[in-house]
Symmetry: C2
Subunit: 397 residues, 2 copies
């Protein structure tokens, strides 16, 4: 069905790669270490207008990648946010130039722990430096510059993508006209850290992990699968699991005494086993750690978090999301308001849990389409001198 509606997809796409080529060709990381050269995988959909004012950056969650829409050669499934990106969709490729960037530390074409360290000719493994959400955004800013874009119309993302959105607002206040953080938080809370830590422990408990030095040998697949299973539970809700699986038993015969009896067990195992085919365990460690370190409130008062931010903001949360509960999104709104930032809050009544940001397409389409239209026209206002920067400046003398 999805294939049949191909006129509504962006069609065939190719992942591209951007490598910092200009000197110094490396990034000073938050940790103080330098890393380079750095490659980011990215895709673009739609066309950049002559004014270069219609660029929207899409940033992904923990296990995402640059392939957000359309079809890669030989693949039957479209990108991870294909429902939202395309002609006439929420992120309308007939109006906007969509850039989807993979994160630093990832394993889908960008520089990460599985990349070759030019100093040694070997894979980085745990020699790869700790990277943060801020570092990821710094690298993305180089990509955006390389595309000749001074200012993004918007940055959009959910979950860890939402953290990148918030970091963009803070790190590059002059380069973001609108921001859409979805199902995210100002800082990782201890329960979120705890779930990440369990995933990391599962990976590091795998005897194949070998302190991250497993490339070329057997992979820590079992540990990574367990990490992914934990993740999937947190992405759903009690209610959505009850609706999807109930206590239904699997049809297949039990392979063993502790085989998957229940459908929910089979689902988790399937998700875990699939994930290890496409994701690097070390990247899982580094990226979850980046999320855990994320804390825009660190050593700041809440009213100062978005001081100087000029973007208008649409914050979206979901009622049944217990991993990134709505109160955390409300805290983002509060921080915006206290800083005089124009923020709108929408809480979508969904039972899908955290996964809702990928599933509540209709509601998100409606919200984002309208918001981007306003942001785009507001951008025009600004060029004609009706910007409200003066007013905002009063809030941040």
């Amino acid at each position: 069905m999805r294939m049949a509606g191909s006129t509504q997809t962006v069609g065939n796409v190719k992942t591209q790669f951007f490598t910092f080529a200009e000197p110094p060709g490396e990034l000073l990381l938050e940790s103080g270490e330098k890393l380079g050269p750095i490659t980011l995988a990215y895709e673009t959909y739609g066309r950049l207008n002559d004014e270069k004012s219609n660029a929207v950056l899409v940033v992904h969650a923990l296990s995402g990648d640059a392939h957000a829409a359309g079809f890669l050669e030989g693949e039957k499934s479209p990108g991870w946010w294909d429902d939202m990106i395309g002609p006439g969709k929420g992120l309308d490729t007939e109006k906007y130039f969509i850039i989807s960037s993979n994160v630093l530390g990832g394993c889908k074409g960008s520089t990460g722990p599985g990349s070759t360290d030019p100093r040694t000719g070997k894979r980085y493994g745990l020699e790869f430096p700790i990277v943060t959400i801020k570092d990821m955004v710094s690298a993305q800013s180089r990509l955006i510059e390389s595309l000749g874009i001074q200012r993004l119309l918007a940055v959009v993302g959910g979950s860890m993508g939402g953290m990148q959105v918030l970091q963009w607002m803070v790190s590059y206040p002059d380069r973001v006209r609108a921001a859409i953080p979805i199902a995210t938080t100002l800082k990782h809370a201890p329960q979120q850290i705890a779930f990440d830590e369990v995933g990391r422990q599962a990976i590091m408990a795998d005897s194949n992990w070998k302190d991250g030095d497993y490339y070329g040998g057997p992979l820590p697949s079992k540990g990574l699968a367990v990490a992914r299973m934990v993740g999937h539970i947190t992405y759903m809700s009690d209610a959505s699991m009850a609706q999807k699986f109930g206590r239904r038993l699997k049809v297949e015969e039990r392979p063993s005494k502790f085989g998957a009896d229940f459908e929910v067990e089979g689902y988790l195992r399937y998700r875990g086993d699939n994930f290890v085919k496409r994701f690097d365990a070390n990247s899982y460690l580094y990226i979850t750690k980046a999320m855990d370190y994320f804390d825009l409130l660190a050593e700041r008062r809440i009213q100062d978090v978005f001081g100087g931010v000029r973007a208008r903001v649409l914050v979206i949360a979901f009622k049944s999301d217990w991993l990134y509960p709505a109160y955390q999104s409300q805290e983002i709104v509060r921080a915006c308001k206290l800083a005089g930032v124009d923020a709108t809050y929408c809480e979508i009544d969904s039972t899908y849990g955290h996964d809702a940001f990928l599933l509540e397409v209709e509601e998100e389409t409606h919200l984002i389409r309208h918001f981007l239209r306003t942001a785009a026209s507001n951008g025009d206002d600004e060029r004609y001198g009706r910007a409200s920067n003066g007013i905002r400046a009063q809030n941040h003398p």
Copy 2:
């Protein structure tokens, strides 16, 4: 401080062991398999009165054991529910004869997968049959009989203990005068199954697990520790974690790049590492599976679940418990009401999450003390011919 108040504890205790000695000396399990001989570890506190009418059975949760109160020789920490069991406490040992029974399938003195199979002279391992909550309760009923007790004043337990309480009501309606299921459910829901399954997968992913045949060799400690860490997250709440840990960093130096930075990580690792010293990984598999199979609603209408039950019931739930949410306790109450069973519901406003059943001592003491007093005096009524069995019988012709 706890030691100083020794007059309020039951003092020094010893774990006892009951083995089915009479023929056939074995149990027909729900699976159809027979198991025997069976030993149950148990402890008793207080004195059984001459009428044998003051016995209260305490049943434990997943990782509990028979040692619920007082001090074992050489140990500094008291039993797991010492706050509730003792002279003048909620389960008052000056009034009641408390029996605390370990579960079948466990690893703390009762027959389980780590026991020696008399047929082979080797440890059972995965040759141990699947046991259910009903099987655990069947074994306990033999223990209660062996103590000469025809009818229990009450059965009390939280979490998996609560499932045993509900099963006692259903399996032995004439032998339970009062029941206190705490923070539990009529049936394991898919989210609960999912968390258990992740724990099992973590154990089975450990290369030391060897299909359960690890006795005498290195133990699957890393996998079991991960399972326990997952468990601990689900026992707390977002709020209690925020209060207990916040984003505070550990004071110690980082042992490595993915060492424990945050206090919450250190806590989980500590809990995980401690658990493997006292618990058998195979028992973890069997007991979680017993919980997952628990379903009093299976092939029954909700009004029939407690048909014929004569106990009066006190159902306790906790507001922040998201592992066994209050709505599941409300469903127990509903099933009681529909069957004409006298049920009282109390929802305690706690931020401790599922752990609240071990921590909200003051509230529970108040509720349970009052409820047991009423149940005990009601028992007297019954002997004097003022029982309401006739009325109840009308509900279940």
